[in-house]
Amino acid sequence: MFLLTGTTIRRTIVIGRQYLGIGVALALLLSLILLLATGRHGGTAFQTTFPLELPLFAVTGSMGGLMTFTSDRTKGVFEYLIAYGVGPRRLFANGLVATSAVATIILGLTLGVGLTAAVADRVSLAENLFKAIAFYTVPMSFAGALFISTVGMIWSSLSTPRTGINSPLGIAPMVGVAPIILVLIVAESAPSSEYYYITGGAAAMIVAAVVLLLALSARLMGRERFISPL
């Protein structure tokens, strides 16, 4: 069933291309601004803020996963797949894999371009920057994206289809970026010695929340939840 996963990833990119494009573009724009502001002075702002802001764009940019799930449920695609013998758990996992794939694309592009631009701007990349990327940016990006995806999938399957700002699709990005913005504010204002505690702790909490949600999802996401409400 690699086909199902592969097709879902491709469709997630197509369906969520606007979010993906905006997520990548804004992340690169911000890194450029950070470099222009402080690049020639050692890139201090770049080295501390760049790893903190990336999860924000990885989360908003990977909304395609949730959009695809919601669309498939509403349009009755899941009904067909269940009738063909694909289990609800697999469908749920498929949505999460697609979200992770898009988050990987965003992270790969923004980290690659951002760090290359910094090197080109003769910023000496400190070890702390790589630690922040490894212990905060990457886990927080994936956990954040999976967090909104899981919440959104459970929520959208519990409710009748709605559109607009008060729908799961409208609210999910706000729910997802809230902890990241909080970390951004706290980490920037806290003493530098607490930087890793704050970022690492926040990433660990979000990862724990995702694990908890995934454990609950088996109970909350019975096969009836995958049936179109139309």
């Binding site: 197509v14 695609v77 269940i82």
Partner: protein
């Protein structure tokens, strides 16, 4: 069996066996449970009580599922795919090849739709693509939930002909709101009422409360002038279809040139009363 959603029973005390290859028309007013019945038979919903079996094998089993094809009243085509991609997607899920996709594309006449995104198609075109999926692989049981809704009369006729072809060797459960269509193609009727079976049997065994025929004829002013008219048809109530030949002979003897005789009442209407 009983079945429904989130603990709320939509179907209750449903029990039937079907064996003979034919079209079994599933009828019922909105909310009677037709779609729930199809979803339960297809293994999408798990019955709260009882079971669905194909030749003694539970519908949850792979062998039972492999004998069944399901068409939802919703198109079920994934967003973000072109028509040929969507059909190839389902072909792979079903384990059939490209040649089967080409075959159904020709069968449904959707060659020109293949490069287009599904979301760009009209309602009728979408339905046609959705139905094409049903014919990707031969199955022995077809569950078709409103296959002709949103279709123009010509295409609806083509689809009915395809379904009639299937019913020669296979079991077809076919839901429709169109009673004339149901009467035309159905051999058996399964009527749902309030989530229970209101009637299950041969369509030919159903008799309308009143048997009324319409006669379209020329030179009928004298012989039929006492009858009421509906459009071009003179209405005559008879005790049953066995009286029709005598009536026709009698009118012909009186010089009436009969163009058409048709039943004006559909016995299926009584199932909705």
């Amino acid at each position: 069996m009983s079945s429904g959603y989130h603990g709320r029973r939509v179907l209750q005390d449903i029990s039937f066996v079907i064996e003979e290859p034919a079209i079994y028309v599933v009828l019922g007013p909105n909310g009677a449970g037709k779609t729930t019945l199809f979803r339960t038979l297809a293994g999408i919903l798990e019955p709260y009580t009882g079971s669905v079996e194909i030749d003694g094998i539970g519908i949850g089993h792979r062998d039972a599922r492999a004998r069944l094809q399901y068409l939802s009243h919703i198109d079920g085509i994934p967003d973000g795919l072109r028509v040929d991609e969507a059909l190839n997607f389902y072909a792979t899920v079903e384990g059939v090849g490209r040649q089967d996709v080409d075959r159904v594309v020709r069968m449904l006449g959707i060659e020109e739709l293949q490069p287009r995104f599904f979301s760009e198609l009209s309602q009728g075109q979408k339905k046609r693509v959705s139905i094409a999926r049903v014919f990707l692989q031969e199955r022995s049981i077809y569950l078709l939930d409103e296959p002709t809704s949103n279709l123009d009369p010509k295409l609806a006729r083509e689809i009915r002909d395809l379904v009639l072809g299937l019913s020669k060797d296979d079991l077809v459960l076919y839901s429709s709101h169109n009673l004339f269509e149901a009467k035309e193609i159905g051999k058996y009727v399964l009527a749902l009422k309030g989530g229970r079976i209101g009637y299950f049997g041969r369509l030919s065994d159903l008799r309308p409360a009143k048997y009324i025929i319409g006669i379209r004829a020329e030179g009928a002013d004298g012989a039929l002038s006492s009858l009421s008219k509906k459009g071009d048809y003179y209405l005559q109530e008879l005790s049953g279809p066995e009286e029709v030949p005598n009536l026709v002979a009698e009118l012909t003897a009186k010089g009436v040139r009969i163009r058409e005789v048709k039943e004006m009442e559909n016995p299926l209407e009584d199932l909705f009363a």
